[in-house]
Symmetry: C2
Subunit: 79 residues, 2 copies
């Protein structure tokens, strides 16, 4: 079973990588870019075959390792 | 208009960050993790209101800046 996790900085937390991308795109001539946020995507291949159990497991992985929940939020999709 | 870009290392390109996550999860007691790949997600807010034009624009951004197309593949979603 495959899972996809998105980890993004929470709204209000400064995202210097996103700002750097926004400025670089502006310098390359791309106009009308109002905001850019950059985060991480983590694709997991799990041996687990039960969807609910897999989701519970991945949420635990996020809480323990994948996200810093003080400044980051995460979403889990089971594919 | 919002766009989401995923940038992942191409299949076959070694992904040390993914491997590091896989090992760390194993050390934390999570079993049955067969593979982990880590990539980037970039959320863009665009002034453009035409969906097709926005998609074309974002693909150009990927080719020019957001992805290293030698080793990375990208997908664009217009939300």
């Amino acid at each position: 079973m495959k899972a996809r996790v998105h980890v993004m900085l929470k709204t209000g937390v400064l995202d210097p990588q996103g700002k750097a991308i926004q400025h670089a795109l502006g310098n390359l001539g791309f106009d009308g870019i109002e905001n850019v946020r950059q985060g991480k995507v983590i694709d997991l291949e799990l041996a687990e075959t039960d969807k609910a159990a897999a989701e519970k497991n991945v949420i635990e992985m996020c809480e323990k390792l994948l996200a810093n929940t003080v400044i980051e939020s995460y979403t889990v999709e089971i594919l």
